[in-house]
Symmetry: C2
Amino acid sequence: MNKLVKTPYKGCRDLFPKDKREQEYLFSVMKDAAALYAYEPYDGPMLELVDLYKAKSGEELINDQIYSFQDRGDRFVAIRPEMTPTLARMVAQVHRETPKPLRWFSIPNLMRYERPQKGRLREHWQFNCDVFGAPEVLGELEVLNLVKDLLKLYGANETHFSILINDRAFVDQLFKEMLKITEEVSYKLYKIIDKSKKVSLEKLDKMISEVLDDEKAIILKNYLSLKNFEDVFDFFNIDCSLKTLYQKIAESDLLKYLKYDPSIVRGLDYYTGIVFEVFDKHPDNRRAICGGGSYANLLQIFNEPALPGCGFGLGDVTLKDFLITHDLMPDFTHPDDAIFISFQEQKNEAQALKISNSLRDLGYGVENHLSGIKINKAFQIAEKKKYSFLILCEDDSYTLKDLNHKKEIKFKTINEEVLDCLHGHEHE
Amino acid sequence: MNKLVKTPYKGCRDLFPKDKREQEYLFSVMKDAAALYAYEPYDGPMLELVDLYKAKSGEELINDQIYSFQDRGDRFVAIRPEMTPTLARMVAQVHRETPKPLRWFSIPNLMRYERPQKGRLREHWQFNCDVFGAPEVLGELEVLNLVKDLLKLYGANETHFSILINDRAFVDQLFKEMLKITEEVSYKLYKIIDKSKKVSLEKLDKMISEVLDDEKAIILKNYLSLKNFEDVFDFFNIDCSLKTLYQKIAESDLLKYLKYDPSIVRGLDYYTGIVFEVFDKHPDNRRAICGGGSYANLLQIFNEPALPGCGFGLGDVTLKDFLITHDLMPDFTHPDDAIFISFQEQKNEAQALKISNSLRDLGYGVENHLSGIKINKAFQIAEKKKYSFLILCEDDSYTLKDLNHKKEIKFKTINEEVLDCLHGHEHE
């Protein structure tokens, strides 16, 4: 047999207890944010038919970035690379009888075939929130507020992140009315705009000159130089969702987080209206923490009537990088608090088992060391794990040590004094 | 393009909000049970190299039951069908520097290529708990208590389930010393014993006669007729873990849940000591809710020194069937409680957005209906969702309706009275 490797599969993570506690913290705040906005949880299969992604996602994703294979029943299936197609499939089943707005969230694990690099792994977990059937721009506004409040719940503020926003209506106007380009050129231009901030000006010029003549190149560059909402509303002078949204947030907390950015287009996605990405203001983290936008017809592929929606996906890898960079990640080095039970001599083993079970019946978390150890060693272990209480089991009696208050109680059976002591800790 | 199907991939589930709330409840109780025993969370990749499963799992699993394929880098990978190989791989990385006992739990989503049927799907989530490096039988005892306490936390008791238990030492003794059979026959016999309770006596006789002569068949049938601990300890008269364990639980709550069963062998798994399965006492649910046991050398495949362990896996599909059968599943039809915000006329939209944001800043879950609706309709929606509070937005003022106590407060800005009312609900 080959020698087995101990490392995880490329681009995937082993989550050891500290890592998993961190991830559980990320998830719990996501659930809190969803609850603030009354979004309901859903989940779907890890595998979907490849046809679903073909219908729904950009070409690039299907061709290069998907884990797909044939199952034993000759179905072409793929591990979910994103949640939106599953969401569309599920919403298509129930939207007729579900009152609107329909608000759902999920935190699935996803796989994309990527070259692993900072902020991008093959496997990640993604917080997805979507609202369907909300009146014009109110869904968008809600989703943007949700993202903002989520990051605020982690302790972040406007010094840490921005929400860069655009409207596909502008891009459509630019492509169709001003540049008058074909679909094929549009496709290339989407990719160029998407990369415009990541490459040098020279490189950008070169890329543009490969698809547009000089006159059109100037129009595109003028577009790309738009810096704020006033600029873009002047440049296009058309009505669109972003304009309406901007009017609604004049007095809102959201305004200071939002920044107009012409390079946000999410061109290969299925968005049709407002599009946005959340970015860390710190230069170490250059990948979007979150991307989203609104779509007019996510259910069309199922021959269902158009149901407008807006949503976003936010991955746990970039989120964690963001929180760590700004020192916003709490310390999860230590396990959760538990009562440490120890005994010195084999003959006290049964006693230790008995009190462990009794305390668990009362709802306390208990770590029974199981092997006989010296008292010093017991203190060491409990302190290393930052536990608040230690119980030493000796013949016919127990000693409860309150490690935070350096006090102790001797007892034979669990009594009021013991419970007060264990409880007191919680009331501080 | 083919017409897209709305149904999930075969053997997988779409979890709509009610289903996902139910699953989250199952998970939260699992986490509570793990916390009672100070088990720490971990997680691993959705994909592993096929070699890992080849080394670790039974032949059947690798050949027929695994989703495997070649990735773009020509690696043979598989979607995890179980968590133990990943656990072994991860423990192999850290066991040298991790104090024992090492106690870990996880709730991964897994895929097995199965014919979907009652209690068995292709995708399920599985609660895995394992303890490594505990003194003899104390790890087993702890894991059994954890399973028992988990099911008790769901409201189940000894009238609902049994833990059927055996020891591989008995099976070894039977196969090697009493039947003196080859490995090949052993392999077949494991499967026969595993099925012995699921087939008719005639079928069983036939299966046995195909692999054993009459004399040996009688010995096997005597073994299969063992009904309780006394029987089996008499029959074999050898020392083994199960005997030691049985002595330790004489006065414990666990005793009334445990039942000796000679057909529990988990032959195709990697267990070497005690083996057990949890069964529903109700005849509707014939599949094990949970299976586990102890193993002497899970790390051997990584050339690591032997580290004894004990663990179990408990799937969400059979667990849910069990809880529903015994009416132990709480009702998750309704969403979590939130404050319902509504307005009647378009001009009050901004007011509704403002109070929604203010209440969220205070930590309240808020559902803003976003469209103008009549007051009657607002009451209907809030009542249907079993919300406790409704706020109606009218020009320059708000009306808070306490739906459980049929009282109301009019206000212009959120004040003490409003907060007391919203809060009062929690103190009941």
